[in-house]
Protein backbone atom coordinates (compact mmCIF):
# COMPACT_ATOMS: atom_id res chain seq x y z
CA UNK A 1 0.00 0.00 0.00
CA UNK A 2 1.45 3.40 -0.84
CA UNK A 3 1.56 6.28 1.57
CA UNK A 4 -1.35 8.11 0.04
CA UNK A 5 -3.66 5.13 0.40
CA UNK A 6 -2.57 4.82 4.02
CA UNK A 7 -3.36 8.43 4.78
CA UNK A 8 -6.66 8.07 3.01
CA UNK A 9 -7.63 5.09 5.16
CA UNK A 10 -6.75 7.00 8.35
CA UNK A 11 -8.68 10.08 7.27
CA UNK A 12 -11.74 8.11 6.25
CA UNK A 13 -11.69 6.37 9.62
CA UNK A 14 -11.52 9.60 11.62
CA UNK A 15 -14.18 11.20 9.51
CA UNK A 16 -16.50 8.28 9.98
CA UNK A 17 -16.19 7.90 13.74
CA UNK A 18 -16.87 11.54 14.52
CA UNK A 19 -19.44 12.13 11.81
CA UNK A 20 -21.73 14.20 14.02
CA UNK A 21 -19.22 15.44 16.56
CA UNK A 22 -20.16 12.79 19.09
CA UNK A 23 -17.68 10.56 20.87
CA UNK A 24 -17.44 7.01 19.56
CA UNK A 25 -17.26 3.41 20.70
CA UNK A 26 -15.23 1.55 18.09
CA UNK A 27 -15.19 -2.22 17.90
CA UNK A 28 -12.39 -4.03 16.06
CA UNK A 29 -13.04 -7.68 15.28
CA UNK A 30 -11.64 -10.41 13.08
CA UNK A 31 -12.84 -13.58 11.44
CA UNK A 32 -12.43 -16.85 13.32
CA UNK A 33 -12.54 -15.19 16.69
CA UNK A 34 -14.72 -16.87 19.32
CA UNK A 35 -14.78 -13.95 21.80
CA UNK A 36 -15.85 -11.67 18.91
CA UNK A 37 -18.88 -13.86 18.31
CA UNK A 38 -19.75 -13.75 22.00
CA UNK A 39 -19.35 -9.99 22.16
CA UNK A 40 -21.28 -8.99 19.06
CA UNK A 41 -24.81 -9.22 20.58
CA UNK A 42 -23.60 -7.32 23.65
CA UNK A 43 -22.27 -4.53 21.46
CA UNK A 44 -25.52 -4.41 19.49
CA UNK A 45 -27.57 -4.24 22.65
CA UNK A 46 -25.63 -1.28 24.04
CA UNK A 47 -25.57 0.47 20.70
CA UNK A 48 -29.36 0.52 20.82
CA UNK A 49 -29.40 1.92 24.32
CA UNK A 50 -26.74 4.59 23.90
CA UNK A 51 -26.65 5.52 20.21
CA UNK A 52 -28.33 8.84 20.92
CA UNK A 53 -25.27 10.03 22.87
CA UNK A 54 -22.36 8.21 21.35
CA UNK A 55 -21.54 6.66 17.97
CA UNK A 56 -21.16 2.89 17.71
CA UNK A 57 -19.02 1.57 14.88
CA UNK A 58 -17.53 -1.81 14.18
CA UNK A 59 -14.77 -2.76 11.77
CA UNK A 60 -13.27 -6.00 10.59
CA UNK A 61 -9.52 -5.35 10.97
CA UNK A 62 -8.84 -6.82 7.55
CA UNK A 63 -10.74 -3.88 6.06
CA UNK A 64 -8.74 -1.25 7.93
CA UNK A 65 -5.23 -2.66 8.32
CA UNK A 66 -3.51 0.71 8.56
CA UNK A 67 -5.76 2.04 11.30
CA UNK A 68 -5.47 -1.23 13.24
CA UNK A 69 -1.69 -1.06 13.03
CA UNK A 70 -1.48 2.61 14.00
CA UNK A 71 -3.78 2.13 16.96
CA UNK A 72 -1.88 -1.03 17.82
CA UNK A 73 -4.97 -3.17 17.98
CA UNK A 74 -3.59 -6.60 18.82
CA UNK A 75 -6.29 -8.49 20.72
CA UNK A 76 -9.59 -9.49 19.20
CA UNK A 77 -12.07 -8.08 19.82
CA UNK A 78 -10.87 -4.67 21.00
CA UNK A 79 -13.10 -1.79 21.90
CA UNK A 80 -11.56 1.67 21.71
CA UNK A 81 -13.24 4.87 22.88
CA UNK A 82 -12.57 7.99 20.82
CA UNK A 83 -13.25 11.58 21.69
CA UNK A 84 -12.32 14.54 19.45
CA UNK A 85 -9.94 12.41 17.41
CA UNK A 86 -8.10 11.06 20.45
CA UNK A 87 -8.39 7.79 22.28
CA UNK A 88 -10.25 8.33 25.55
CA UNK A 89 -10.14 6.11 28.62
CA UNK A 90 -8.49 2.72 28.34
CA UNK A 91 -9.56 0.05 25.90
CA UNK A 92 -11.24 -3.29 26.45
CA UNK A 93 -10.28 -6.55 24.77
CA UNK A 94 -10.70 -10.33 24.76
CA UNK A 95 -13.76 -11.65 26.53
CA UNK A 96 -15.37 -8.35 27.46
CA UNK A 97 -17.84 -8.24 30.33
CA UNK A 98 -21.05 -6.33 29.48
CA UNK A 99 -20.73 -4.46 32.79
CA UNK A 100 -17.21 -3.28 31.87
CA UNK A 101 -18.48 -1.92 28.56
CA UNK A 102 -21.34 -0.08 30.25
CA UNK A 103 -19.05 1.44 32.85
CA UNK A 104 -16.59 2.65 30.20
CA UNK A 105 -19.33 4.23 28.11
CA UNK A 106 -20.67 6.08 31.15
CA UNK A 107 -17.15 7.26 31.98
CA UNK A 108 -16.49 8.53 28.48
CA UNK A 109 -19.80 10.37 28.38
CA UNK A 110 -19.25 11.83 31.83
CA UNK A 111 -15.69 12.78 30.95
CA UNK A 112 -14.36 10.88 33.94
CA UNK A 113 -11.80 8.30 33.10
CA UNK A 114 -10.13 7.06 36.18
CA UNK A 115 -6.43 6.75 35.39
CA UNK A 116 -5.87 3.07 34.83
CA UNK A 117 -2.76 2.38 32.93
CA UNK A 118 -2.93 -1.41 33.08
CA UNK A 119 -4.68 -3.41 30.42
CA UNK A 120 -6.93 -6.33 31.23
CA UNK A 121 -7.37 -9.24 28.84
CA UNK A 122 -9.45 -12.33 29.41
CA UNK A 123 -8.89 -15.42 27.28
CA UNK A 124 -9.65 -19.12 27.28
CA UNK A 125 -6.02 -20.17 27.33
CA UNK A 126 -2.88 -18.22 28.16
CA UNK A 127 0.40 -19.79 27.12
CA UNK A 128 3.55 -18.45 28.75
CA UNK A 129 6.49 -18.77 26.36
CA UNK A 130 6.49 -18.93 22.57
CA UNK A 131 9.19 -21.52 21.98
CA UNK A 132 8.34 -24.69 20.04
CA UNK A 133 6.37 -26.11 23.00
CA UNK A 134 4.21 -23.01 23.49
CA UNK A 135 3.64 -22.52 19.77
CA UNK A 136 2.61 -26.13 19.28
CA UNK A 137 0.17 -25.87 22.19
CA UNK A 138 -1.24 -22.67 20.68
CA UNK A 139 -1.78 -24.37 17.34
CA UNK A 140 -3.95 -27.02 19.02
CA UNK A 141 -5.97 -24.74 21.30
CA UNK A 142 -6.56 -22.21 18.53
CA UNK A 143 -7.77 -24.97 16.22
CA UNK A 144 -10.11 -26.06 19.02
CA UNK A 145 -11.56 -22.53 18.70
CA UNK A 146 -10.35 -21.50 22.11
CA UNK A 147 -9.29 -17.90 22.43
CA UNK A 148 -5.56 -18.31 22.87
CA UNK A 149 -2.90 -15.79 23.81
CA UNK A 150 0.77 -16.73 23.66
CA UNK A 151 3.05 -14.37 25.56
CA UNK A 152 6.81 -14.18 25.25
CA UNK A 153 9.32 -12.03 27.11
CA UNK A 154 11.37 -11.80 23.96
CA UNK A 155 10.43 -12.79 20.45
CA UNK A 156 8.89 -16.09 19.41
CA UNK A 157 11.02 -19.16 18.85
CA UNK A 158 12.86 -19.57 22.12
CA UNK A 159 16.10 -21.48 21.76
CA UNK A 160 15.26 -22.35 18.17
CA UNK A 161 15.38 -18.69 17.17
CA UNK A 162 19.10 -18.72 17.96
CA UNK A 163 20.07 -22.05 16.43
CA UNK A 164 21.88 -22.10 13.06
CA UNK A 165 20.46 -25.28 11.60
CA UNK A 166 18.27 -28.13 12.76
CA UNK A 167 18.76 -31.50 11.15
CA UNK A 168 16.79 -33.79 13.42
CA UNK A 169 13.28 -32.43 13.21
CA UNK A 170 10.99 -34.41 10.94
CA UNK A 171 9.35 -32.89 7.90
CA UNK A 172 12.01 -30.37 7.00
CA UNK A 173 13.64 -31.99 3.96
CA UNK A 174 16.76 -32.80 5.94
CA UNK A 175 17.71 -29.45 7.33
CA UNK A 176 16.18 -26.12 8.23
CA UNK A 177 17.55 -22.97 9.84
CA UNK A 178 16.23 -22.07 13.29
CA UNK A 179 14.71 -18.73 12.25
CA UNK A 180 13.00 -20.38 9.27
CA UNK A 181 11.43 -23.09 11.44
CA UNK A 182 10.23 -20.41 13.86
CA UNK A 183 8.74 -18.37 11.04
CA UNK A 184 6.83 -21.42 9.81
CA UNK A 185 5.51 -22.21 13.26
CA UNK A 186 4.48 -18.63 14.00
CA UNK A 187 2.74 -18.28 10.64
CA UNK A 188 0.75 -21.45 11.22
CA UNK A 189 -0.27 -20.44 14.73
CA UNK A 190 -1.37 -16.95 13.72
CA UNK A 191 -3.26 -18.36 10.78
CA UNK A 192 -5.35 -20.36 13.21
CA UNK A 193 -6.24 -17.22 15.12
CA UNK A 194 -4.02 -17.45 18.19
CA UNK A 195 -2.71 -14.13 19.35
CA UNK A 196 0.99 -13.62 19.90
CA UNK A 197 2.28 -11.00 22.32
CA UNK A 198 6.00 -10.34 22.13
CA UNK A 199 8.25 -8.48 24.53
CA UNK A 200 5.96 -9.00 27.48
CA UNK A 201 7.55 -10.80 30.39
CA UNK A 202 5.30 -12.56 32.84
CA UNK A 203 6.44 -11.59 36.30
CA UNK A 204 3.74 -12.96 38.58
CA UNK A 205 1.09 -15.64 38.59
CA UNK A 206 -1.85 -16.53 40.77
CA UNK A 207 -3.37 -19.93 40.10
CA UNK A 208 -5.66 -20.07 43.14
CA UNK A 209 -8.90 -18.84 41.55
CA UNK A 210 -11.13 -20.46 38.98
CA UNK A 211 -9.89 -17.86 36.51
CA UNK A 212 -6.10 -18.01 36.53
CA UNK A 213 -4.29 -14.69 36.75
CA UNK A 214 -1.05 -13.98 34.91
CA UNK A 215 0.68 -10.63 35.29
CA UNK A 216 3.07 -8.74 33.03
CA UNK A 217 4.54 -5.26 33.27
CA UNK A 218 1.49 -3.64 31.64
CA UNK A 219 -1.25 -6.24 31.42
CA UNK A 220 -3.37 -8.49 33.62
CA UNK A 221 -4.24 -11.66 31.77
CA UNK A 222 -7.02 -13.95 32.95
CA UNK A 223 -7.64 -17.41 31.56
CA UNK A 224 -9.52 -20.60 32.23
CA UNK A 225 -6.34 -22.61 31.68
CA UNK A 226 -2.64 -21.72 31.65
CA UNK A 227 0.09 -23.59 29.81
CA UNK A 228 3.63 -23.00 31.05
CA UNK A 229 6.24 -23.25 28.27
CA UNK A 230 9.00 -20.98 29.54
CA UNK A 231 11.80 -23.33 28.47
CA UNK A 232 15.33 -22.89 29.64
CA UNK A 233 18.25 -20.50 29.50
CA UNK A 234 21.98 -21.12 29.07
CA UNK A 235 23.88 -22.28 32.13
CA UNK A 236 26.51 -19.65 32.92
CA UNK A 237 30.18 -20.62 32.80
CA UNK A 238 31.14 -21.35 36.41
CA UNK A 239 34.12 -19.02 36.74
CA UNK A 240 34.81 -15.74 38.51
CA UNK A 241 34.12 -12.53 36.57
CA UNK A 242 31.66 -14.39 34.35
CA UNK A 243 29.31 -11.41 34.30
CA UNK A 244 32.06 -8.88 33.82
CA UNK A 245 33.27 -10.59 30.64
CA UNK A 246 29.85 -11.20 29.07
CA UNK A 247 29.95 -9.74 25.58
CA UNK A 248 33.62 -8.95 26.13
CA UNK A 249 34.78 -12.27 24.79
CA UNK A 250 32.33 -14.50 26.65
CA UNK A 251 29.22 -15.46 24.69
CA UNK A 252 26.30 -17.88 24.90
CA UNK A 253 24.76 -17.44 21.47
CA UNK A 254 26.93 -18.54 18.57
CA UNK A 255 24.31 -17.59 15.99
CA UNK A 256 24.11 -14.08 17.35
CA UNK A 257 27.70 -13.11 17.97
CA UNK A 258 29.75 -15.62 15.97
CA UNK A 259 30.12 -13.26 13.03
CA UNK A 260 32.11 -10.85 15.22
CA UNK A 261 34.92 -13.39 15.37
CA UNK A 262 36.18 -13.39 11.79
CA UNK A 263 39.59 -15.05 11.57
CA UNK A 264 39.73 -15.33 15.33
CA UNK A 265 40.90 -18.12 17.64
CA UNK A 266 38.00 -19.15 19.76
CA UNK A 267 37.12 -21.86 22.22
CA UNK A 268 33.81 -23.56 22.78
CA UNK A 269 33.11 -25.00 26.21
CA UNK A 270 30.94 -28.12 26.34
CA UNK A 271 30.60 -31.56 24.81
CA UNK A 272 26.94 -32.14 24.06
CA UNK A 273 25.09 -31.75 20.79
CA UNK A 274 24.79 -27.99 21.00
CA UNK A 275 28.50 -27.46 21.73
CA UNK A 276 29.74 -29.81 19.03
CA UNK A 277 27.36 -28.50 16.38
CA UNK A 278 27.89 -24.83 17.15
CA UNK A 279 31.67 -25.39 17.17
CA UNK A 280 31.41 -26.59 13.57
CA UNK A 281 29.16 -23.64 12.66
CA UNK A 282 31.63 -21.18 14.18
CA UNK A 283 34.34 -22.34 11.76
CA UNK A 284 32.45 -20.30 9.15
CA UNK A 285 33.92 -17.24 10.80
CA UNK A 286 36.77 -18.25 13.05
CA UNK A 287 40.23 -19.35 12.03
CA UNK A 288 40.31 -22.04 14.66
CA UNK A 289 37.75 -23.45 17.09
CA UNK A 290 38.97 -25.50 20.04
CA UNK A 291 36.48 -27.41 22.12
CA UNK A 292 37.21 -27.61 25.81
CA UNK A 293 35.61 -30.76 27.16
CA UNK A 294 35.63 -31.76 30.80
CA UNK A 295 35.47 -35.50 30.14
CA UNK A 296 37.25 -37.71 27.63
CA UNK A 297 34.46 -38.06 25.08
CA UNK A 298 31.55 -36.17 23.58
CA UNK A 299 27.96 -36.94 24.48
CA UNK A 300 26.92 -35.54 21.09
CA UNK A 301 25.47 -37.78 18.36
CA UNK A 302 27.74 -39.77 16.04
CA UNK A 303 26.85 -37.66 13.01
CA UNK A 304 27.55 -34.45 14.90
CA UNK A 305 30.90 -35.81 16.03
CA UNK A 306 31.83 -36.88 12.52
CA UNK A 307 31.26 -33.35 11.20
CA UNK A 308 33.38 -32.02 14.01
CA UNK A 309 36.31 -34.36 13.49
CA UNK A 310 36.17 -34.00 9.69
CA UNK A 311 36.47 -30.24 9.92
CA UNK A 312 40.08 -29.02 9.48
CA UNK A 313 39.49 -25.96 11.65
CA UNK A 314 38.35 -27.74 14.80
CA UNK A 315 40.31 -29.23 17.64
CA UNK A 316 39.51 -30.58 21.10
CA UNK A 317 41.17 -30.61 24.51
CA UNK A 318 39.86 -33.41 26.73
CA UNK A 319 39.48 -33.63 30.52
CA UNK A 320 39.86 -29.91 30.84
CA UNK A 321 37.93 -27.05 32.43
CA UNK A 322 38.14 -23.28 32.16
CA UNK A 323 39.26 -21.86 35.51
CA UNK A 324 39.96 -18.19 34.86
CA UNK A 325 39.23 -15.50 32.29
CA UNK A 326 41.87 -12.88 31.66
CA UNK A 327 42.31 -9.71 29.63
CA UNK A 328 42.13 -5.92 29.92
CA UNK A 329 38.97 -4.89 28.11
CA UNK A 330 38.37 -8.20 26.36
CA UNK A 331 39.27 -11.75 27.16
CA UNK A 332 42.62 -12.51 25.58
CA UNK A 333 43.67 -15.52 27.64
CA UNK A 334 42.14 -18.27 29.71
CA UNK A 335 43.57 -20.48 32.40
CA UNK A 336 42.70 -24.12 31.81
CA UNK A 337 43.02 -26.98 34.24
CA UNK A 338 43.32 -30.64 33.40
CA UNK A 339 40.93 -32.23 35.87
CA UNK A 340 42.81 -35.56 35.78
CA UNK A 341 46.32 -34.27 36.46
CA UNK A 342 45.50 -30.92 38.07
CA UNK A 343 47.93 -29.30 35.65
CA UNK A 344 47.17 -25.69 34.76
CA UNK A 345 47.98 -23.98 31.47
CA UNK A 346 47.38 -20.65 29.80
CA UNK A 347 45.84 -20.37 26.35
CA UNK A 348 45.51 -17.28 24.16
CA UNK A 349 41.96 -16.85 22.82
CA UNK A 350 39.88 -14.12 21.22
CA UNK A 351 36.56 -15.40 22.45
CA UNK A 352 34.68 -18.13 24.30
CA UNK A 353 31.32 -19.61 23.45
CA UNK A 354 29.83 -21.51 26.35
CA UNK A 355 27.30 -24.29 25.65
CA UNK A 356 27.22 -26.35 28.83
CA UNK A 357 23.53 -27.00 29.09
CA UNK A 358 20.51 -25.10 30.22
CA UNK A 359 18.67 -24.24 33.40
CA UNK A 360 14.86 -24.12 33.51
CA UNK A 361 13.08 -20.78 33.79
CA UNK A 362 10.77 -21.56 36.67
CA UNK A 363 11.64 -19.04 39.40
CA UNK A 364 8.27 -17.38 38.81
CA UNK A 365 6.31 -20.58 39.46
CA UNK A 366 7.96 -21.55 42.76
CA UNK A 367 5.29 -22.08 45.38
CA UNK A 368 2.56 -22.21 42.72
CA UNK A 369 3.15 -25.62 41.14
CA UNK A 370 5.30 -28.62 42.10
CA UNK A 371 8.93 -28.11 41.12
CA UNK A 372 11.82 -30.54 41.67
CA UNK A 373 15.17 -29.77 43.31
CA UNK A 374 16.71 -28.80 39.96
CA UNK A 375 13.96 -26.35 39.15
CA UNK A 376 12.01 -28.51 36.68
CA UNK A 377 8.22 -28.60 36.83
CA UNK A 378 6.66 -31.95 37.63
CA UNK A 379 3.83 -33.13 35.42
CA UNK A 380 2.18 -36.42 34.61
CA UNK A 381 2.18 -37.73 31.06
CA UNK A 382 -0.82 -35.54 30.24
CA UNK A 383 1.33 -32.49 31.05
CA UNK A 384 -0.88 -31.75 34.06
CA UNK A 385 0.79 -30.09 37.04
CA UNK A 386 -0.55 -30.58 40.54
CA UNK A 387 -2.94 -27.63 40.00
CA UNK A 388 -6.03 -28.33 37.88
CA UNK A 389 -6.06 -26.16 34.77
CA UNK A 390 -2.29 -25.54 34.86
CA UNK A 391 -0.12 -27.43 32.38
CA UNK A 392 3.61 -27.43 31.64
CA UNK A 393 5.35 -28.53 28.45
CA UNK A 394 8.76 -28.51 26.77
CA UNK A 395 12.14 -27.93 28.39
CA UNK A 396 10.69 -26.66 31.70
CA UNK A 397 9.41 -30.13 32.54
CA UNK A 398 11.27 -32.82 34.37
CA UNK A 399 12.12 -35.32 31.63
CA UNK A 400 15.13 -37.00 30.07
CA UNK A 401 15.13 -35.75 26.49
CA UNK A 402 14.97 -32.05 25.67
CA UNK A 403 14.57 -31.60 21.94
CA UNK A 404 12.31 -29.70 19.58
CA UNK A 405 10.51 -32.90 18.58
CA UNK A 406 9.28 -33.66 22.07
CA UNK A 407 8.78 -29.99 23.02
CA UNK A 408 6.27 -29.88 20.16
CA UNK A 409 4.79 -33.20 21.31
CA UNK A 410 4.43 -31.97 24.90
CA UNK A 411 2.73 -28.82 23.65
CA UNK A 412 0.15 -30.79 21.70
CA UNK A 413 -0.64 -32.97 24.73
CA UNK A 414 -0.91 -30.00 27.11
CA UNK A 415 -3.29 -28.29 24.70
CA UNK A 416 -5.53 -31.31 24.28
CA UNK A 417 -5.87 -31.75 28.04
CA UNK A 418 -6.38 -28.03 28.60
CA UNK A 419 -9.19 -28.17 26.08
CA UNK A 420 -10.79 -31.14 27.87
CA UNK A 421 -10.45 -29.32 31.18
CA UNK A 422 -12.09 -26.16 29.86
CA UNK A 423 -15.02 -27.98 28.31
CA UNK A 424 -15.65 -29.96 31.50
CA UNK A 425 -15.48 -26.79 33.61
CA UNK A 426 -17.81 -24.94 31.24
CA UNK A 427 -20.50 -27.59 31.61
Amino acid sequence: MDNEAKIEEMNAFHKKIHENGKAAVVLFYSNNCPPCDVFEPVFDKYSMGYSKDINFLSFNIKDIPVVSERLMVRSMPTVIFMKAGEEACSRLSGYIEPSDLKEKIENVLGGICPKESRKKVTADVVIIGAGPAGLSAALYTARARLYTIVIDRAMPGGQVATTFTIENYAGTKGSITGPELVENMVGQVEEQGAELVELNEITEVDFSGKLKHVVSEDTDYYAKAVIIATGAQPRPLPVEKEEEYRGRGLHYCATCDGALYQDADIIVVGGGNSAVEEAVNLTKFARKVTLINRSDGFSATKSGQKKFFDNPKTDVIWNTEVRELKGEMFIDRVILENNKTGEKSEMAVDGIFTLIGMIPRTELFKGHVNIDENGYILTNENMETDIPGIYACGDVRRKYVRQIANAVGDGAIAAIFAEKYISSEDE
Binding site: A154, M155, G157, G247, C256, D257, Q262, F285, F330
Partner: protein, 76 residues
Protein backbone atom coordinates in the same frame (compact mmCIF):
# COMPACT_ATOMS: atom_id res chain seq x y z
CA UNK B 1 18.63 12.57 15.15
CA UNK B 2 21.09 9.85 14.15
CA UNK B 3 20.48 6.27 15.09
CA UNK B 4 22.73 3.38 14.06
CA UNK B 5 22.03 -0.27 14.71
CA UNK B 6 25.03 -2.58 14.56
CA UNK B 7 23.68 -6.07 13.94
CA UNK B 8 24.09 -9.45 12.29
CA UNK B 9 21.39 -11.02 10.13
CA UNK B 10 21.25 -14.15 12.29
CA UNK B 11 20.73 -12.48 15.64
CA UNK B 12 17.13 -12.45 16.88
CA UNK B 13 17.64 -9.65 19.39
CA UNK B 14 18.87 -7.49 16.53
CA UNK B 15 15.71 -8.21 14.58
CA UNK B 16 13.69 -7.39 17.66
CA UNK B 17 15.49 -4.12 18.29
CA UNK B 18 15.01 -3.03 14.67
CA UNK B 19 11.36 -3.98 14.75
CA UNK B 20 10.89 -2.00 17.96
CA UNK B 21 12.53 1.10 16.47
CA UNK B 22 10.38 0.81 13.34
CA UNK B 23 7.22 0.50 15.41
CA UNK B 24 8.19 3.68 17.19
CA UNK B 25 8.83 5.48 13.91
CA UNK B 26 12.55 5.88 14.53
CA UNK B 27 14.59 5.90 11.34
CA UNK B 28 17.97 4.27 11.67
CA UNK B 29 20.95 3.09 9.73
CA UNK B 30 21.27 -0.69 9.79
CA UNK B 31 24.85 -1.89 9.81
CA UNK B 32 25.62 -5.56 9.18
CA UNK B 33 28.85 -6.10 11.11
CA UNK B 34 29.32 -9.58 9.69
CA UNK B 35 29.87 -7.97 6.27
CA UNK B 36 31.60 -4.75 7.18
CA UNK B 37 34.72 -5.29 9.25
CA UNK B 38 35.56 -1.64 9.61
CA UNK B 39 32.15 -0.92 11.07
CA UNK B 40 32.51 -4.02 13.26
CA UNK B 41 35.70 -2.52 14.71
CA UNK B 42 33.90 0.79 15.18
CA UNK B 43 31.17 -1.00 17.10
CA UNK B 44 33.68 -2.78 19.32
CA UNK B 45 35.46 0.49 20.07
CA UNK B 46 32.24 2.37 20.78
CA UNK B 47 30.68 -0.26 22.99
CA UNK B 48 33.74 -1.89 24.49
CA UNK B 49 32.39 -5.32 23.72
CA UNK B 50 31.56 -7.73 20.91
CA UNK B 51 27.94 -8.70 21.42
CA UNK B 52 25.23 -7.55 19.02
CA UNK B 53 23.04 -5.59 18.76
CA UNK B 54 24.65 -2.30 19.65
CA UNK B 55 22.58 0.82 19.16
CA UNK B 56 24.10 4.24 18.83
CA UNK B 57 21.23 6.55 19.68
CA UNK B 58 22.47 10.11 19.14
CA UNK B 59 25.78 9.17 20.68
CA UNK B 60 24.30 7.18 23.55
CA UNK B 61 25.52 3.61 23.28
CA UNK B 62 23.11 0.84 24.16
CA UNK B 63 24.37 -2.72 24.30
CA UNK B 64 21.80 -5.42 23.66
CA UNK B 65 18.10 -4.90 23.16
CA UNK B 66 17.25 -2.80 26.19
CA UNK B 67 13.61 -1.93 25.67
CA UNK B 68 13.16 0.37 28.66
CA UNK B 69 16.31 2.36 27.89
CA UNK B 70 15.23 2.73 24.26
CA UNK B 71 11.72 3.78 25.26
CA UNK B 72 13.24 6.40 27.51
CA UNK B 73 15.52 7.76 24.78
CA UNK B 74 12.73 7.81 22.21
CA UNK B 75 10.37 9.75 24.45
CA UNK B 76 12.95 12.38 25.44
Amino acid sequence: MAVKVYSTPTCPYCTMAKKFLKENNVTFQDIDVSKDRQQAMEMVTKSGQRGVPVIDFNGQIIVGFDKSRLTHLISH
